[in-house]
Amino acid sequence: MDKYKKEPTYQNKEQEEQTEPDQNNASSLVEKIQQLGQTNVVQAPDTNVHVLSIVGQVEGHIQLPPQNKTTKYEHILPQLIAIEQNPKIEGLVVLLNTVGGDVEAGLALSEMIASMSKPTVSIVLGGGHSIGVPIAVSTNYSFIVPTATMTIHPIRLTGMVIGVPQTFEYLEKMQERVIQFVVGHSNIKEELFKELMFAKGNLTRDIGTNVVGTDAVNYGLIDGVGGVKDAMVKVNELINLAKENETGAIQ
């Protein structure tokens, strides 16, 4: 990288790339081995299914310390619009491995995904806790891998609170919104979801339930147990269905 400093003009840079391709290749090769542990990555043709990964914490109004792995909602929202608008993209797969996070950011993501016209499928991998639950159920069809878990618990607030009764009411309403969204977008009954949310004895010294893969499906929260293959089959099935409906409407 030092060589770029010595030759700052653009032409020189290009020239250098032409004259010393071996050196550049060698350094990029070393870089690649350092970062990925391998030298080449597979190439593939254009895809009609895009992938959105929501990992770590869902970051909303407050920027989290740098050591946290976060998904920033301001990055995701425009991407969802781009997917909706791009005619080449026919479907979306949402990969979830989140510990939860900002409720309003999570609800915003969920509503955006739920209101998309293109077929969407989600896979819960590892964990889809707290606000990950509404995001998981917001897609047309949701999958969970057998080892993944989802923690359902009441909404929490950390930090300073000004006006305790008002904040309490506000939080309760927010919780109601989350419950309504999950009930509205999955097959779980409201009573059952609330029961899981306020259950005692499942989590150590806390209320709530940690639902594992197959149980999430049995409760009706998630549509099916499955991984990448199942999700790709489902999204293609939904794409074909959407295409059929479209041609049917034209005729």
Partner: protein, 68 residues
């Protein structure tokens, strides 16, 4: 000093803000990249913000890649 609190460590001891200053989102070859500025003025790619799975197969956007 002994602290016994449910607060996160960062709420009591604010983390070093200089690390925030180093990190930024840039547009490079029509892709949005989350990068960290290195001491020599170059940028190291931390995260590629894209929904196209093929972008993640692109050699230029592998994590850790040094740009410019």
């Amino acid at each position: 000093m002994i602290l016994y609190t449910p607060l996160a460590k960062e709420d009591i001891f604010p983390s070093d803000l200089s690390i925030y200053a180093k990190r930024q989102c840039i547009n490079f070859k029509n892709k949005t990249l989350y990068v960290e500025k290195r001491n020599d003025g170059t940028y190291q790619l931390l995260q590629l913000l894209s929904t196209d799975p093929n972008d993640f197969l692109n050699d230029q956007f592998q994590p850790g890649t040094i740009i410019e």
